[in-house]
Symmetry: C2
Subunit: 485 residues, 2 copies
């Protein structure tokens, strides 16, 4: 006692489900990149690069994306409502348009103070705003009582998985490659991730026969498969699902009584095709075959973190429940109550996202111009990065479709795999670590998202501005291939 | 299939640990009070009261507490940094002092944009600010690497319990009466709450002999008791622990190898005695007996939600770890990474809380005046409410000591207990429901916090302004006692 040995907690005595969880997006590479960033800030000159490019995480405003002016003007008034006592100064000297003041007054009426707790599932007036947005988007009714405001979509996913997973035999179908939130949360919950592979050769499309075979295998292994996660548009793949795929997934969910978790946070990051929501498709199926789909339970999520909003630091989001038992919704309410409520200023940002200035509003022209410029910028950067990948030996990458990521396949020489093994790393981890050391560009090894046996990938965002960093990847890759040839 | 019966989720098929969790602070009474509030807003005239007083939850700004001007001015600039391009307008026309602009610039340098993710455990510069605050407060060094910024203290508690609880035999000592966050979180985790009773006759003090007997009983029952929670100052009791009690708890923790979770969110809400931190006391013990306390693991939590700050809607907080294994800290980092980071504007508010204007700063006088007025107002309201309780038959309540709550004992006539049983309620639930229906005042039945067999209490905040609501409680109580006499 009294010595270090007397500690209660060590790696073997803590919760082993937490220990087993993996979260590569912020793993060893991310930590090392932050060390480099700090060293550069302190004036280090012994590194072969002058800046760190954090292409490992979809963090738009850390890179180049500017916040939407209308949104931030409103938020500034919510934080300091006393400014509303000087409308002339706001309008004449600070360039705030009258609709900024009007929206701030409306939101303050809805929440009281952004420093006060809201209802556990969010301010009713903002949930009403979300419901109206969903009606406009989908052409079907939405009920504000079924909207739950959350601290980003991650917190909503955490809530849903907590309710759905009953014990260690509970399983959830998760697309591979996937965003590690799902595997990590399931690991912490001691529930089973049931992976299903996306079809890389079909632009990472979703194939129900692959889902079915994963499901059958899991059931044969004694897993009680309860839900299916669909990320649409895909992360890390960017693929937007056609309506026929969504229908096929809903059919399968109906057949197997699976709760559908539709992660739709990239719904505005679409370059190819169009975003079609699970909610709209479900309602259409219900129209076409009355009664047949009434028991399908759908939870769909969205957030302020991605898209042209890009406000992930504000931790705002929501999920909508369709077809859920009201008694289960009461339990969800109780569960979210334990953490009290989502950040209220983030809730207000959800309101702004779903209800932005409309044509004719004083702030509309500027909003539209900013929004379109961000969209164009993302598309241009994605295209430039894709072009660079096309030049690289052993690298294959589908054309950018959406989200904020590219997820190229890389084929590395056997010697590279040997060198990786000698370091105790997978070849993709080895490659990404050397890339970071040589260029300051931080990407995520594909193994962090799961991948098919024998294939290698990495995920990179296309958020960073400029082309220099893209050139540095091309140069690194050539040297790497030469070295291990 | 295809019918309601085909749903996957119902009360029996969801996670039963979530179902078993109780969270009275936002339970049936709170929901009913919101219904009344909505009815009144829609013009209802058939209720025996004109407003709902939410005395069930420590939500300062929902009631009367105004935000601190300096804080909100800085936050408004963080939300809209373009305002910093017009310093003359800010200073001359909007009354912003130069230190407001300076702090905003400093924080923007620290976080980049409040719309960007920070490091998973918070922006390093803000963690540094917290460490410096702890050094000033305690007179002992603090390391910024040991500070974790969280979405309110609740999220920090959730993290700590996730790491500490290994399986369903893991137990945590929790004070009774307690804040239901602890019991609810342990229930969700399927771990064991090991209750220890506070000493009501000693102003709800903490008695190590009571802790020891709870511990012994739990161990005899096969529970692996791993940690002890201390809420200081107490919620719902308001008691501030003397240093001798803190030492006794730390001794016990050392003896039994218990992680100490010191919930210190009410550290500035102290009317009687003084707040003494667990960290300071631990460091003193380590000075007095070198080596003897090195293995004690302490996690202490604070937040922006309470005190004179009262910004609970912003979900800001932190915890400091002392004596933890670095490998365990890495696991904590990974765990918090899954939810990405605490809201960045809330992180900035933590910086403002721990580093407010100092004497000589341009904003100091106003800050001090606002802070002191809030403190005085809380003390006056607590005293008025306490006086009212002293007049009420069968009600006993110690003098207000701190936090935001009073927790009176009530003795109800046997007929009231019978009427409660007929409704399927505990007597305190029955009493609180009748109180809400008659007066619009929402309080929390003591059973929501746990209480000794055969005793009845309720918890009320003393945040609401005015004396009318206090009078309405007195009148209700008299009529209730007359009815069931």
């Amino acid at each position: 006692m009294g010595s270090e040995a007397g500690r209660r907690l060590n790696l073997d005595t803590i919760n082993q489900h937490v220990r087993a969880a993996k979260y590569a997006v912020r793993g060893e590479l991310a930590v090392k990149s932050e060390e480099y960033r700090l060293a550069l800030a302190k004036g280090a000159t012994d590194l072969p690069f002058k800046q760190v490019i954090s292409a490992n995480i979809g963090n738009p405003q850390q890179l180049d994306q500017k916040p939407i002016t209308f949104f931030r003007q409103v938020l500034s008034l919510l934080e300091n409502p006393q400014l509303l006592d000087k409308p002339d100064v706001l309008v004449n000297e600070l360039g705030y348009k009258p609709d900024v003041l009007e929206r701030a007054r409306k939101l303050l009426k809805a929440v009281g103070s952004v420093g006060a707790y809201s209802a556990s599932n969010g301010a009713p007036a903002i949930r009403q705003s979300v419901a109206e947005f969903l009606e406009r988007r989908d052409g079907f009714p939405a009920r504000w009582e079924d909207i739950y405001l959350s601290a980003g979509a991650s917190s909503g996913v955490n809530t849903l998985l907590h309710i759905i997973c009953k014990d260690s035999s509970s399983g959830v179908l998760v697309p591979i490659p996937q965003y590690p939130l799902y595997t990590a949360s399931l690991s912490v919950l001691d529930a089973q991730c049931v992976p299903y592979y996306l079809e890389e050769h079909k632009n990472w499309g979703t194939d129900v026969s692959a889902i079915r075979s994963s499901y059958d295998k899991a059931v044969a292994d004694g897993i009680d498969v309860r839900a299916i996660v669909i990320i649409n548009p895909g992360n890390p793949t960017g693929a937007s699902l056609p309506e026929s795929d969504i229908r096929a997934v809903l059919d399968f969910a109906r057949e197997k009584r699976l709760v559908v978790i539709a992660d739709e946070v990239y719904q505005t990051n679409v370059f190819v095709g169009e975003f079609i929501s699970f909610k709209r498709t479900l309602r259409r199926l219900q129209q076409e075959q009355p009664g047949a789909y009434d028991a399908v339970e759908l939870a769909s999520l969205h957030s302020v973190s991605k898209g042209m909003v890009g406000e992930c630091g504000h931790r705002g989001g929501y999920f909508e429940l369709v077809g859920f038992d009201p008694a289960v919704q009461n339990e969800i309410y109780k569960f979210v109550s334990i953490m009290l409520c989502a950040p209220v200023i983030g809730q207000c940002l959800v309101d702004l996202m779903v209800n932005p200035p409309r044509p004719g509003d004083p702030s509309y022209d500027q909003y539209r111009a900013e929004y379109d410029a961000i969209y164009r910028g993302l598309h241009e950067r994605a295209t430039a990065l894709h072009k660079a990948f096309e030049q690289m030996e052993g690298v294959e990458c589908g054309a950018p479709q959406g989200s904020m990521y590219l997820f190229p396949t890389i084929r590395l020489p056997p010697k590279a795999a040997e060198a990786a093994a000698a370091e105790g790393r997978t070849p993709d981890e080895f490659y990404c670590m050397r890339l970071l050391e040589a260029t300051g560009v931080c990407v995520v090894p594909g193994s962090g998202f799961g991948q098919k046996e024998g294939t290698l990938h990495f995920r990179t965002t296309f958020l960073a501005p400029g082309t220099e960093w893209v050139g540095s990847i091309v140069k690194f890759h050539r040297e790497f291939m030469d070295k291990y040839r």
